[in-house]
């Protein structure tokens, strides 16, 4: 019976004829019961994954042409798995700083639920599997774009830029902007100006979104030495940069209307929501530091999520209606 050994703090069980399988040391504080399926799923950053699936779906639906519904579902599933894989690899590489940051301390690796090597293996297997399957089952343009997305997120953003430059999320934001292009490519087999516009909306949206978060979370980044803009250039400069990117984002958000990707409803929504985004960015710029400034930044951060969601939701609905009716 486990635990009745006389001397050691470790007792090996499972070696007798009555027990099959590898030896398991249970009489130790170090003994781990191993990760659960749910903890592996947590590695995939489900909330990020849901946003990726949503934007990819919009690319899929907005693209001209048709894809068999089963293959469209397969494409979305594989894009989600690819995104989840890059989340797992990100958690593997950033485990050292995740332990020290309030926002990330509850992730499975810092909590000791999943080991770093398990996260690495999980991420690599899912990355390779999702890319190959998307290539074989859907098309290789989509597969290549998914590989580019994962590679960009891990090698360019996580390993290279994140700890090197305050421009980390500006360039690294490209990784989060690829999913609608992948969805588009799944249908058309190529890249076009419309899919590039969808890419650019998310790409330009990322800096004000993330910097709004970092305005009230910058101490976390400061503690672990990640050169987020507020840490390196200060809160004032960050607020200025948020405003500048918002000024770029607002017109970019309306472009789908002018190239025929979105209809009138989209054009109106993008203009109104863009106006609110700009107003909030101006309020953040004018806010005093401290609790009031944090509150404004938090408001802008939450609105930025709503803004992107609404833009893509309206595009989705308009394109579904157009395909059903027309």
């Amino acid at each position: 019976m486990a635990g009745q050994g006389s001397d050691a703090s470790l007792e090996v069980v499972g070696t007798g004829p009555e027990r099959q399988g590898p030896a398991i040391a249970v009489d130790s504080d170090d003994f781990s019961v191993g990760p659960s399926v749910g903890e592996f799923f947590e590695l995939m950053k489900p909330r990020v994954m849901s946003l990726v699936v949503f934007t990819a779906l919009v690319g899929l639906v907005a693209a001209p042409g048709t894809l068999h519904p089963f293959l469209a579902g397969v494409a979305l599933l594989l894009i989600a798995i690819g995104a989840g894989a890059s989340g797992a690899l990100n958690m593997w590489y950033d485990a050292d700083i995740d332990r020290l940051m309030q926002r990330t301390a509850a992730r499975p690796i810092p909590r000791g639920k999943v080991s770093e090597s398990e996260a690495l293996s999980f991420g690599v297997v899912l990355s390779v599997g999702s890319v190959l399957m998307l290539g074989v089952l859907v098309n290789w343009t989509a597969g290549a774009l998914l590989a580019l997305t994962i590679g960009f997120y891990i090698f360019v953003y996580t390993m290279w830029l994140k700890r090197l430059t305050p421009q980390n999320i500006v360039i690294g934001g490209a990784a989060g902007a690829f999913p609608p292009m992948i969805g588009w490519a799944a249908v058309t087999g190529g890249v076009s100006i419309e899919s590039i516009v969808l890419f650019l909306i998310i790409f330009i949206w990322t800096p004000p979104h993330f910097w709004a978060l970092s305005l009230y979370r910058y101490r976390d980044y400061e503690r672990v030495g990640v050169p987020m803009l507020p840490v390196v250039a200060g809160l004032e400069e960050t607020r200025r940069q948020i405003l500048l990117y918002t000024l770029l984002l607002v017109p970019m958000g309306v472009v789908p209307y002018f190239i025929g990707l979105g209809g009138v409803v989209y054009g109106v929504c993008a203009t109104v929501l863009g106006g609110i985004f700009l107003w909030l960015a101006l309020r953040v710029r004018a806010a005093e530091e401290g609790r009031e400034g944090d509150r404004m930044a938090k408001q802008l951060f939450l609105f930025s999520i709503f803004y992107l969601f609404m833009l893509f939701a309206v595009l989705l609905v308009e394109n579904v209606v157009a395909k059903v009716v027309g």
Binding site: A2, I24, V33, G34, S36, F70
Partner: protein, 50 residues
């Protein structure tokens, strides 16, 4: 603190769940390839030369 038997039981339970998850994944992959192949071949699957 959980007893050793509890830990062992939890270890085995989690191992079993992971094994089931892997098995389900493999079955799903097989089904995906099978159905996707039928869809891609379409009607040609019945018109192949014998």
């Amino acid at each position: 603190m959980a007893s050793e038997d509890d830990k062992l039981a939890e270890y085995k339970k989690r191992q079993k769940m992971r094994s089931i998850a892997i098995a389900v994944t493999l079955v799903v992959i097989v089904v995906l390839f099978y159905v996707a192949t039928l869809i891609r071949l379409g009607g040609n699957v019945l018109n192949r030369p014998y």
